[in-house]
């Protein structure tokens, strides 16, 4: 008989990261690591979260995981030093002649 694995209390491991929701939006957020002051605002506010902090030697800065960025612009609006740029995805760029 086939056995079924049941998670009592409706708790299974988090699996949603397999859903690459980064393909939802028309734009993606890009962080300029030179401008970033590592304040963490974009990490606190990103609803996904698609942002995280990385360290490179003594430089700390935020990065965006484009697998999950829905292009909502929230990080863009909360960054105190304008380190974030929103860029339209290539496939949405149409040439108008």
């Amino acid at each position: 008989m086939a056995k079924m694995k049941l998670y009592i209390g409706a708790s299974s491991p988090a699996m949603s990261s397999e859903m690459k929701t980064g393909d939802w939006g028309t734009e993606l957020a890009y962080i300029d690591k030179e401008k970033c002051i590592a304040c963490g605002q974009c990490i606190t506010f990103c609803p996904e979260p698609a942002t995280s902090m990385v360290e490179e030697g003594d430089k700390k800065y935020a990065v965006v995981d484009h697998d999950y960025c829905k292009g909502c612009w929230i990080c863009f609006t909360v960054c105190p030093v304008d380190a974030i740029e929103m860029k339209t995805k290539e496939i949405y760029k149409v040439e108008v002649c």
Binding site: S16, M19, P47, C72, W73, T77
Partner: protein
């Protein structure tokens, strides 16, 4: 490991995920999450696509208070209540309307639960029907704007006061525009034994008719106009209020949302705008908002 997300299905720019993740993080992941039916449940508990990094249960729309009470009681019976906080995450429809009975029972018996209502001011998952948390003037599918009606008539119910009236040790309002303040409140709530109620204002991009660029600004304006006062009660005593240096006119908050835009054209719009300003003024008076 992430406690909530990524890969959930909330709309781009949705407000509540900021609060859900913030609450679980500040409790160091020591959370058993109880969730009522609504957007949060739908976007986070798809089969095979669970987004929760903590134990999670969804039962019904109306019974989160009772389910949490049961879990809390079971944990105590097993002498395991020191292992995690039982935290409810429920929408405003679930909290103000359909689940108020089980929430009231939970608070009456003073179960050791942190109840967090994410308030997006309508039944958003089913497409923006009014709840008792919907403010006056809002256009919803059950309070449609027409010749005779300028959106919802009647006030937003004051659930924080209703929680306080139950004699709970802690009750507070918060906003996703002030995530650190919200997290501090969740942490403070966890220090009390008994029922705790926190209501966090969280914009719905589709229902309110804004885009993600405005999510933070709009929720900030709700606070800055006095329409969503941030208050905190301990044992029925008002202990903290977010003061406003220069309270803004309510129009600044209303004019950038589609759900209110008719107020600036409708025959009865002026009346509603005055009513909303009066509510803000009364809040300022009651809580001493003006610094």
């Amino acid at each position: 490991m992430n406690y909530f997300g990524p890969g959930h299905g909330a709309c781009p720019g949705c407000g509540f995920p900021i609060a859900i993740r913030g609450a679980i993080e500040v409790l160091d992941g020591k959370v058993i999450a109880v969730n009522s039916t609504g957007c949060l449940e739908i976007v986070s508990s798809m089969y095979g696509r669970n987004t929760w990094g903590v134990p999670y249960i969804h039962s019904l729309f109306e019974n989160a208070g009772a389910v949490a009470a049961g879990i809390e009681t079971a944990l105590r019976a097993m002498k395991r209540d020191n292992e995690a906080h039982v935290v409810v995450f429920a929408g405003d429809g679930a909290t103000f309307d359909i689940g108020i009975g089980t929430l009231s029972g939970m608070m009456d018996r003073d179960h050791n639960v942190i109840y967090i209502c994410y308030d997006n001011e309508a039944y958003q998952n089913t497409g923006n029907q009014q709840s008792m948390a919907t403010p006056p003037g809002a256009n919803t599918t059950t309070t449609p704007v027409g010749k005779l009606k300028p959106g919802k008539t009647g006030r937003k119910k004051d659930m924080v006061e209703i929680a306080v009236a139950h004699g709970v040790p802690y009750a507070a309002s918060a906003s996703i525009a002030y995530p650190k303040d919200f997290q501090r409140k969740v942490k403070r709530a966890a220090e009390f034994e008994g029922s705790k109620y926190i209501q966090v204002h969280a914009p719905c991009v589709t229902g309110w008719g804004i885009d993600g660029k405005l999510t933070v600004e709009v929720s900030k304006l709700a606070v800055e106009t006095g329409l969503y006062p941030l208050v905190e009660y301990e044992y029925g005593k008002l202990v903290k209020v977010k003061k406003l240096k220069q309270r803004k006119p309510v129009e600044e908050y209303l004019k950038i949302q589609r759900r209110f835009r008719h107020l600036f054209k409708h025959e009865m719009g002026k009346e509603i705008l005055e009513q909303l300003q009066k509510i803000a003024d009364e809040n300022a008076e009651k809580y001493g908002l003006d610094a």
